[in-house]
Assembly symmetry: C2
């Protein structure tokens, strides 16, 4: 008998909570950060090291995988877990976000979205049903409904129209998922509504009416600023049921995540630790460092003496040399160190919540980041 999907909260500290999502492929400790494995690889990392860094779950991008190597091919090869040597849970997005950001000539209708592949120009249709089919072919443990990612900024009227379409697609996604999914897999709804409080509430309530085992907050961290993002998280988590996991999509910086955890968010994903690692940027307990900086040329201190990551014990002078030389090893070491820092941050947050000292913990980290971080976010 396959273990069902479930979520339990073990401890609360203000609105922050810590607990666990149980899936047939393993337990996800929350708050959880999911490293992004875009094209069936967390870039520049061996999958064993992603697990060793502490990740319980990774994210796969449906858009990328359906284009290359193709969902049917991955299914034929035994599913995404087998394909990429990752046995623990995988969450896949619906593909909608990348269609908006990467694909050419996209056209949205009631039926779905048609677009041209950014790789070869092929015309491809993505409907709510196809998005679920692809995620089932991949074998994703947690799947996402297809939604329209409302552009930012947008008028309230446009946000409302977009929201209504996303709700109809959410219903169709749920129906398709019921027909196609395997036991123990779960489908999450996605709250939209741009920066409009009443639309966010309306979206959350409508999704609750449809009924999902988990809810994501989408369409944030797109330029609205941290205050507006936190306001929307506050509004949304106030409506969402306490017994379901809450996932803030595409977030974020350590400061963003700490603020969101304080507001009741349980799950995150972001390319920041991996992408930054490929561009000479390190997240450490002492702040964000730019290893390209000449001040590190003869610095014999380890990248992050407070991290347990083997990669964080390499000397800054060596990492500076590797970054300046464009060596692949710089991406390997910094990505590993960053991914593990994000996991250690989540583990420390979980412990702090369990011990009722989360606010103090978050303040400490924020202060160290404010005082110790260097310019540049690695997103070049």
């Amino acid at each position: 008998m396959t273990a069902p999907f479930s979520f339990t909260v073990a401890a609360r500290d203000g609105s922050a909570r810590t607990g666990a999502i149980t899936t047939p492929r393993g337990v996800i400790r929350t708050p959880a950060f999911m490293p992004v494995g875009t094209g069936a690889t967390v870039k520049a990392m061996f999958p064993e090291d992603v697990a060793a860094a502490g990740a319980d779950i990774i994210l796969g991008n449906t858009y990328h995988l359906m284009l290359r190597p193709g969902a049917e091919r991955i299914a034929k090869l035994g599913g995404l877990h087998n394909f990429m040597h990752w046995e623990k849970p995988i969450l896949t997005d619906s593909g909608g976000y990348q269609v908006m950001s990467l694909a050419k000539l996209r056209r949205i209708t009631e039926e779905g979205v048609t677009f041209q592949s950014h790789l070869d120009g092929a015309t491809i249709a993505l409907t709510p049903e196809r998005a679920i089919e692809v995620q089932c072919l991949l074998g994703a443990d947690i799947q996402m409904v297809l939604d329209e990612c409302t552009p930012f900024p947008t008028t309230k009227d446009e946000a409302k129209t977009s929201l209504d379409l996303s709700l109809r697609w959410a219903e169709r996604s749920k129906t398709a998922f019921a027909a196609m999914s395997a036991p123990g897999q779960a489908l999450f709804g996605i709250v939209q509504g741009s920066v409009y409080q009443d639309l966010r509430e309306e979206s959350a309530r409508a999704l609750i009416d449809i009924g999902f085992p988990g809810y994501a907050v989408g369409g944030l961290a797109v330029g609205e600023g941290q205050d507006a993002m936190f306001d929307m998280v506050d509004v949304t988590t106030a409506v969402l049921p306490a017994d379901r996991p809450r996932y803030l999509m595409g977030v974020g910086t350590p400061e963003d995540m700490l603020g969101a955890i304080a507001r009741g968010i349980d799950m995150f994903d972001c390319v920041m630790p991996t992408r930054s690692g490929r561009h000479g940027q390190a997240f450490t307990w002492a702040g964000r460092l730019n290893l390209r900086n000449a001040r590190y040329a003869e610095d014999p201190s380890p990248l992050d003496p407070e991290s347990a990551c083997p990669a964080a014990h390499y000397e800054r002078a060596y990492l500076h040399h590797l970054v300046k030389s464009g060596e692949i090893l710089s991406a390997m070491l910094l990505t590993y160190a960053n991914v593990q820092f994000y996991q250690e941050l989540m583990a420390s947050a979980r412990a702090a919540i369990a011990e009722g000292r989360f606010a103090q913990f978050a303040d400490d980290v924020r202060r160290r980041y404010r005082e110790g971080s260097e310019a540049g976010n690695g997103e070049d």
Copy 2:
């Protein structure tokens, strides 16, 4: 008391021999293949994995390291071993080869060679004395005399003139090494003479007169063809003393190495396994494979079931996908698999020599490579 540098031959099989070089930093089992760690990194590999693959020694490039990050800086940071997290022996070349192949505006005089850095155009002088000084600053366990890498093809007169200069530089290198080196470090001479049998013999005899604890054969695998290369190796090893290690520089393919081992060579280095790994090429026990080939798109078999390397157990379809997508993980996995294959080839050669069946072993590998290899050598 520091262990001295020594070489012992444990078994012979025809002209092939197996044994061990002992250095203060560890034992090098021979025949040995040295992965190339150009800029203080074996490209795309964690140093732990280079050791796990079976390498007893790696090669560092004096030219690259003196330009970036600089030999004095590496010395200040505790030496090359400490800098790059590699505790076992390191052999460094003299820098001469890269001056010829990479630097601009080089001018050779009796004193040495002056060139412009390919990185920033700075004018730099490399003399036999400076080449040794740099290698001592790096802390190399085995160092090489500065020689002039005779171009190929060349006339006999030019080869003789070049050879004579290299012999004068070899004497100066030895004098400098005696003054600067640390206990247990060793300096090897380099036999030149292009494809001229009598010049090779003359070079070898003159170097023996100067006296070195090991001898390299240089200036081969530069376009002369395998037959000519083997002829020169035959001529040279016939003259070189049996109780000193023999190092064939910049070689090579599995077939080249097997032929050279049969002729009494003990050490090799080559960028082939690492460079090929970054270009989708794999060395396996079944031959050389081009993972970019469409035939692997749905091939669920492991890269090399006969290899003990964890990277060689990834499925060909997945590696094909990573190569086609330009993912860093493809370079990581294929480089690891290739470096370990080269080490396994050496380990099997050592065992075959010890058991008196080297000729049969080499024939088997050559046949499999002839029948199983695909076009393309990864040197794009």
